[in-house]
């Protein structure tokens, strides 16, 4: 028994060290002063600002479309429902390079919808809109998955009560379902935001890298690491802090329960 305890304890120690040391190293390599200096660097600021703008826009789109879609998936039973669920969750496990190729093949200039988009004067590749498209594609499943679980966990009696009192389904969704599912929705939002913030491969392949237009913070880190390693470290430190804040907000929102409920 004690050998077993030692073994599982050692396994946890190894896992903890392996997962935290690289992140810790970012901070051990950067002095707090250097961190603040890096935020004065216009290129880093442009990248952070662009990341903030594009991820916010992407999240707005994800929430607007994802919330009603998740509600349908959570409340209706229909043929092929699990297939639909699997399909919308697929980008969750796709390698970013595959997401980049998929976006190019679909909505790139030579993609299957390339000509149609060109006729409609919609340009995505190498544009800020292209960054948002890439972010929505990779991040939406994180929200959808959580939102479906959160909606499914709402007590059916609450809905019945609301309907009995004469509220329409739309009103019930807005006044009863969404407020009740809010912690789960918030957790999904934070997870999707974190994924969008970290997006790299699909963005580079589909939207390129241009300062102020398509060079998000992860792309700026990649651009920096060859000639300004400490600048790249500092920018990374900022992203670690933001990601940690998002994760903590997931925990506080009770996203753990939301995940467990699935």
């Amino acid at each position: 028994m004690s050998a077993f305890r030692l073994w599982i304890g050692a396994a946890l120690a190894v896992a903890l060290a392996f997962l935290t040391l690289p992140v810790l190293a970012i901070f051990l390599n950067t002095s707090p002063g250097r961190l603040l200096d890096s935020l004065d660097d216009p290129a880093a600021r442009d990248a952070l600002l662009l990341s903030l703008k594009t991820t916010t826009l992407a999240l707005a789109i994800i929430l607007a479309v994802g919330t009603p879609a998740a509600y349908l998936l959570a409340t209706r039973r229909f043929r092929g429902r699990s297939l639909v669920l699997t399909l919308v969750e697929l980008p969750l496990v796709l390698p970013p390079a595959v997401a980049g190729i998929a976006l190019l093949a679909a909505v790139g200039p030579q993609g299957i919808f390339g000509d149609a988009l060109a006729e409609a004067h919609v340009e995505l590749a190498l544009q800020r809109a292209g960054v948002v498209v890439a972010l929505v594609f990779v991040a939406a499943p994180f929200y959808l998955r959580q939102a479906v679980a959160a909606f499914a966990a709402v007590e059916p009696t609450l809905l019945q009560a609301s309907r009995t009192l004469g509220a329409s389904e739309a009103a019930t969704l807005a006044r009863v379902v969404v407020p009740t599912a809010l912690p789960g929705l918030a957790a999904g939002t934070a997870l999707a935001w974190g994924r969008a913030l970290g997006e790299f491969g699909a963005t580079l392949m589909f939207a390129g890298s241009f300062r102020g237009i398509t060079q998000t913070a992860p792309l700026a880190i990649y651009d920096d690491f060859t000639d300004d390693f400490s600048g790249a470290l500092a920018l990374s430190a900022v992203l670690v802090c933001v990601s940690a804040a998002l994760l903590i907000s997931v925990k506080l929102a009770g996203g753990e329960r939301g995940l467990a409920a699935r």
Binding site: L28, G108, S209
Partner: protein
């Protein structure tokens, strides 16, 4: 510093579990533009990326056996820092303007037109720094108009080629060997002689390499026989 030492020690312990001995393949870090030629040549495990990224890895303590760069500046700098042995020049290349085969763009001057979409290498990668040399020689006004058309600054030259072959841009500055590798999808527009940069490739054995002898043999092999032939076949000029 002590904390960093602990971090490093922990990683060394983890790496030790991998059990990497002194055998294993020869590892060569090489510029993206060498991909075709080196892959055809074989004889080592290659890691292709922007030369500046490979140099940055070496500065961070990564030790391939040899480093082949799309310029002489990076291997020279690493040599000055004591990280690699004395570099040698083993090939030359030409920076060109690449456009899709059916493009109407015919000269560098056409890049000044508003609305032309251009891809370049980032300022750090050799292809990008050669491009900036060219633009500087074209004069500030021309350079400004062309730079206004840049839509993406790619981390390596293959990124520029990709944006071109995907039709995301109308033109890009790449090496003539990259155009050749697209087998007709792209065509090369030569740069005027007075603005064309000298593109020399330097290779060096990395200090502390695991296979120094094999690395030297690889370096020597690039300048004779099969290595020389593979480079010539890919369109490189030979010293």
């Amino acid at each position: 510093m002590k904390r960093i030492a602990i971090t490093v020690a922990a990683f060394a312990a983890l790496a030790g579990c991998g059990g990497s001995g002194s055998d294993g393949p020869l590892v060569v870090s090489a510029a993206s533009s060498l991909k075709g030629a080196f892959t055809a040549l074989g004889g080592a495990r290659f890691s292709f990326a922007g030369s500046d990224q490979l140099a940055a890895q070496i500065r961070q303590g990564v030790k391939p056996d040899a480093f082949a760069s799309a310029n002489t500046k990076l291997p020279d700098a690493l040599h000055d820092e004591g990280l690699v042995e004395k570099p040698v020049v083993f090939a030359g290349n030409r920076l060109v303007l690449a456009v899709p085969a059916n493009s109407k763009i015919a000269t560098v001057g056409d890049l000044e037109q508003p609305g032309v979409k251009l891809a370049v290498g980032s300022a750090e990668v050799p292809a990008g720094s050669y491009t900036r040399e060219v633009l500087a020689r074209l004069g500030p006004a021309v350079s400004r108009r062309i730079l206004a058309n840049v839509r993406t600054a790619e981390p390596d030259v293959k990124g520029v080629v990709g944006k071109l072959t995907q039709g995301a841009v109308d033109a890009g500055f790449v090496y003539v060997t990259d155009v050749r590798a697209t087998q007709g999808a792209l065509k090369a527009i030569e740069l005027p002689a007075k603005v064309a940069p000298a593109v020399d490739y330097g290779v060096a054995v990395v200090r502390g390499a695991r296979h120094p002898e094999a690395a030297w043999k690889f370096v020597d092999g690039l300048r004779a026989g099969k290595g020389r032939q593979a480079l010539a076949d890919a369109g490189f000029t030979l010293p």
